[in-house]
């Protein structure tokens, strides 16, 4: 028979042994540096959230509250959406080697031992009954199985629940206290917890499938039958009247997923890789969804099946299979429930024992004279001993509470009561992470206020309902004062007890935290920690930290301290790895600088908590007290340094840009210099050419008096021409230089362009007639008037006309001049029937000293400056000068000058 007592005991023991093996394997792999904690394992380990309270209790809740059991799963799902908040928590904890939620809060508010102790007390008071609930769940499930089997295993005097507590204590001690350093993760434990998560999910889905498809004819059948009963139909409708409860429950469970000590342990302390969070964000909600799918079907199935019988709905998952003879399935469910309970108890007690050891026992021990007397002793063994004792004590407390409470209300409702207790950590935690002004005084006041309200409105009334204390303060208010009724404070009635407590406790908590924070001044340590927590992502380097410590210490003393608390072997190992990170071969040669002191303190914090670590380091180092103002100055300076470095970066960019511009400007200058050089070289050439003829011919005339008269006349003619050419050249060069430098003098007035053009044509008339070139004009009688310099315009016209006559063939040559108004401009064209220009020449001829080739004469008479000068002049008046031409099709030089803006 499967359900014999011996077999059940054997099965449970075998399962625990399997967990041992999994944990052992995880630890072995961790020691070998091959961690098995993957993103999936991490996400599954979060499901330690699903305890036996939910494994058995969800069905129970569903039988009375319908879908409301879902709220405690919706909250965590929503909370995980704020992955950034959790990530910041993880990062802060890693940097500061945080060991627990108490350590986190204490460290943030100036490494306060008072605050650490307070958080620990709240956590222990809030969570120990929850542990009792797990013992009850195991005990109840055993009772169901044994009722079936007949309890023939244990003698009447041996309490199975006590036995379970002892086994769990031993199990947890073995799991959780292998190493001292709490930030040294318990990878074996995490692996075992993830394994248990899989087992409980598997068991729950198995029983769900059995009930839905084995007992009933599927979901449709189940819901149809339930719908037939008005009492059951109520369960799967959403009751809007309970919306307040829903909101409170979602908020409560959302906070619990982070702030329950075991959840903080798993999510934050045991996190090995921040990227694992990304997986958990969807995998954990998926897990919650899967484990909840069959809650309502099982609840409905149980109610339908056991109609009229007094069967506890919390045990439906066991009693339904048993009622149908599925003993194997019942045993699987038992193992699933055992998984849920042991997972919770192990992680919770480890987390609580760390807090009790570091934040309650250590501060007291460090002050005691007994410890002073044992100065030289290695204390690591003592610390482990304290933790082991704390684990045993917490489980003992849980057992005592279970014994005392029994079936009383105080136990059944404790799950949510625990949630409400740890929700009190939220203001101090979130405020500490995002609000630098939050102070220790504010955190203490908020926690005390919230905790007091929680005690008065939730825990004590639950005691009263169990008839342990008088219920007067609930019924009539404290001392008969009406508005002090415990569950209708200030007359706020109509809410359920959880919503009521949450509203008032968080109101008191947040109010006191904010008001007291704003009215208190942090001390130096607090201000520093506030900065380091809130700006954790910016304070990556150690520089600021190092600057915030001044004093002197000896390496020997600090190492002695580490050896005392970590044990000599581990201390040396840590020292060696620190030395290696600083590139120092031998740690004995290090100096006790600020950085080293920080390292030592962080190592100690990992073992005994940040508050105690601070006290210990202060006891061996001669520290200079930095005043608050000084700390703020340094932090300010650090902020400024960041601002400066950003500014520097900007400046550097600007500098690079400026350098680039300078280089470009330099290149331009060099190019200009080269052009000037070329220009001078060209000018020199242009000047030397006529000079060559003049000198050669004059020398010959001078040297040879017998030269024939005709030669003399010819040479003198050439000399005169070349001298004229030289004069013209010099004048034009000077003109060009004046135009280019902007020093030219302009006499601007109203000029009749038609008149200017006619005068220029008249002036050059003889030249055209000499070469027999036709000159025709198409000019308005009274030409358009523009604002310009009359002489300069004449200069342009003469240049264009003399160019034209130069390039057209004598006899057949023809030059046409047109003046017209086009839009807002006067357009003047000088068209010839000469050889024309190539596209390239059309541009080149406007450059200095670049005369058009392909001329009819061998060498065009001209300086090569006429067109560049003309273009400068026209552009000065706001116009353009260009040429339109094709080889063989003549050239058409065109310039425009804008008409003055009409002032109509």
């Amino acid at each position: 028979m499967l359900l014999s007592g011996w077999f059940i005991a054997l099965l449970a023991t075998g399962y625990l042994a399997l967990l041992f093996a999994v944990a052992r394997f995880g630890d072995a792999r961790a020691d070998a540096g091959k961690s098995i904690i993957s993103a999936n394992v991490y996400a599954l380990s979060l499901a330690v959230y699903c305890t036996s309270w939910t494994f058995y209790g969800s069905v129970g809740r569903a039988t009375s509250g319908g879908l409301s059991f879902l709220t405690i799963y919706i909250g965590p799902t929503l909370m995980l959406l704020f992955a950034g908040v959790i990530l910041k928590m993880v990062r802060i904890s890693k940097v500061h080697r945080i060991t627990s939620i108490a350590d986190f809060i204490a460290s943030r508010y100036g490494k306060s031992q008072l605050l650490a102790g307070l958080v620990t007390v709240i956590a222990v008071v809030g969570v120990v009954p929850y542990i009792a609930l797990q013992l009850k769940a195991i005990s109840a499930s055993l009772a169901v199985l044994f009722a079936q089997a007949g309890n023939d295993l244990f003698p009447w005097w041996l309490d199975t629940t006590f036995l379970i507590a002892i086994v769990l204590a031993l199990f947890t001690i073995w799991f959780g206290t292998r190493h001292l350093d709490a930030t040294e993760r318990h990878e074996g434990m995490v692996a075992a917890v993830a394994f248990e998560s899989v087992v409980k999910l598997f068991a729950f889905i198995a029983v769900g499938l059995f009930v839905t498809y084995g007992i009933f004819g599927g979901l449709g059948d189940l819901f149809q039958r339930a719908a037939a009963s008005p009492e059951l139909a109520r369960l799967f409708s959403l009751d809007s009247g309970r919306a307040g409860t829903w909101t409170a429950m979602v908020l409560l469970s959302g906070l619990a997923i982070i702030f329950l000590p075991r959840q903080f342990q798993i999510i934050v302390v045991e996190n090995v890789d921040e990227s694992h969070l990304r997986r958990a964000v969807w995998l954990f909600p998926l897990y919650l969804l899967l484990i909840n799918i069959f809650v309502l079907p099982i609840a409905l199935g149980g109610l339908l099946h056991f109609q009229g019988q007094a069967v506890n709905p919390d045990t439906f998952v066991l009693t339904l299979p048993l009622a149908h003879g599925a003993q194997g399935l019942a045993l699987l469910v038992f193992i699933g429930g055992l998984s849920a309970a042991t997972g919770m108890v192990i992680v919770e007690t480890i987390a609580l024992s760390t807090m009790v050891c570091n934040d309650l026992v250590m501060p007291w021990l460090l002050r005691s004279t007994w410890l002073q007397a044992e100065k030289r002793q290695d204390l690591s063994g003592l610390l482990i001993g304290i933790r082991r004792a704390a684990i045993a004590l917490i489980l003992l407390l849980g057992y005592i509470y279970f014994r005392a409470a029994g079936e009383a209300y105080a136990l059944v409702g404790i799950g949510l009561i625990s949630f409400a207790a740890v929700a009190q950590f939220a203001p101090a935690m979130f405020g500490g992470m995002y609000w630098k002004q939050g102070t220790r005084a504010g955190a203490v006041a908020g926690l005390l206020g919230g905790f007091a309200v929680w005690l008065y409105t939730l825990l004590l009334p639950s005691f009263a309902k169990s008839h342990w204390i008088g219920g007067g303060f609930v019924e009539d208010g404290l001392l008969g004062v009406g508005w002090l009724k415990a569950q209708a404070l200030f007359g706020l009635a109509g809410l359920d007890e959880i919503s009521h407590c949450l509203l008032w406790s968080l109101f008191a908590n947040i109010g006191l935290y904010v008001v007291v924070s704003l009215n208190s001044r942090p001390d130096a340590t607090e201000a520093r920690q506030a900065e380091r927590f809130v700006d954790i992502f910016r304070h990556a380097g150690r520089e600021t930290d190092a600057r915030l410590w001044r004093g002197s210490a000896s390496v020997e003393q600090l190492v002695a301290l580490l050896e005392r608390f970590l044990g000599p072997a581990r201390a040396r190992q840590q020292m060696a790895s620190y030395a290696a990170s600083r590139q120092i071969a031998d740690w004995k040669k290090m100096s006790a600088d600020a950085d080293f002191v920080h390292f030592a303190e962080a190592e100690l914090a990992g073992a005994i908590g940040s508050a105690s670590a601070r006290v210990m380091v202060a006891s061996v180092a001669q520290e200079e007290d930095l005043g608050l103002d000084e700390v703020l100055d340094i932090l300010d300076e650090a902020t400024q340094v960041r601002a400066y470095s950003r500014e520097l970066e900007v400046k550097q960019h600007e500098l690079q840009a400026a350098t680039g511009e300078l280089r470009a400007a330099n290149d331009r200058l060099r190019e200009l210099d080269r052009m000037k050089d070329d220009f001078i070289s060209t000018v020199t050439h242009e000047l030397r050419t006529p000079l060559t003829s003049i000198r050669a011919l004059s020398e010959m005339l001078h040297d040879d008096p017998r030269l024939e008269l005709s030669d003399r006349k010819r040479f003198l003619g050439i000399i005169v021409n070349e001298a004229e050419r030289l004069t013209r050249l010099i004048n034009q060069i000077l003109d060009m230089a004046k135009l280019e430098s902007g020093r030219a003098e302009w006499t601007t007035g109203e000029v009749d362009i038609g008149e200017v053009v006619r005068e220029a044509m008249d002036a050059l008339g003889q030249l055209f007639r000499d070469k027999a070139v036709a000159l025709e004009g198409d000019i308005p009688a009274s030409g358009p008037v523009v604002l310009a310099d009359r002489d300069r315009l004449t200069q342009v016209m003469i240049n264009l006309l003399s160019n034209a006559v130069k390039f057209v063939p004598g006899g057949t040559g023809r030059v046409q001049v047109r003046v017209a108004v086009a839009g807002q401009r006067v357009r003047v064209e000088v068209a010839d029937n000469g050889p024309g220009l190539t596209a390239e020449e059309c541009n080149v001829i406007f450059e200095k000293f670049r005369q058009g080739g392909n001329t009819l004469t061998d060498k065009p008479q001209g300086t090569g400056l006429g067109l560049p000068i003309s273009r400068q002049i026209v552009e000065y008046f706001g116009g353009n000068l260009w040429v339109e031409s094709r080889p063989g099709a003549g050239a058409n030089f065109i310039f425009t000058v804008p008409l003055p803006a009409s002032e109509e």
Partner: protein, 123 residues
């Protein structure tokens, strides 16, 4: 038999003065107005010396000089570069590509005559 000189320049007035100057000294003269014509005249006229202007249309004096020096049949031809650009780099360039002498414009007629006579070995 008198020595033959080819005068190459794109400035007609310079050609006039050089031609007159050299004829008076008894040389046989031919003239060319650009680089292409110069190469043609060297072939047809077979001068002993070329007075070669640098800045000319079509083909510069440098190009003409290079072409002449590349022709082994003209190995004995003397080349005097004439230029209005007096920069050292240009003098160096002219001599580097094989000119025998380099004269800067405006030049002294007496010196030019003396230089040409000296190069041709005419007393």
């Amino acid at each position: 038999m008198g020595k033959k000189i080819l005068i190459v320049d794109d400035e007609p007035n310079i050609i006039i003065s050089l031609e007159f100057l050299m004829k008076k000294e008894g040389f046989e003269i031919a003239v060319a107005g650009d680089g292409d014509e110069a190469l043609a005249k060297v072939a047809s006229f077979a001068p002993d010396l070329v007075l070669l202007d640098v800045m000319m249309p079509k083909k510069s004096g440098y190009e003409v000089c290079e072409a002449l020096r590349a022709d082994p049949a003209r190995a004995g031809l003397l080349i005097v570069m004439l230029t209005a650009k007096g920069r050292d780099t240009e003098v160096a360039k002219g001599l580097a590509i094989g000119a025998d002498a380099y004269v800067t414009k405006p030049f002294s007629t007496k010196e030019l005559v003396a230089k040409v006579k000296g190069m041709l070995g005419v007393a």
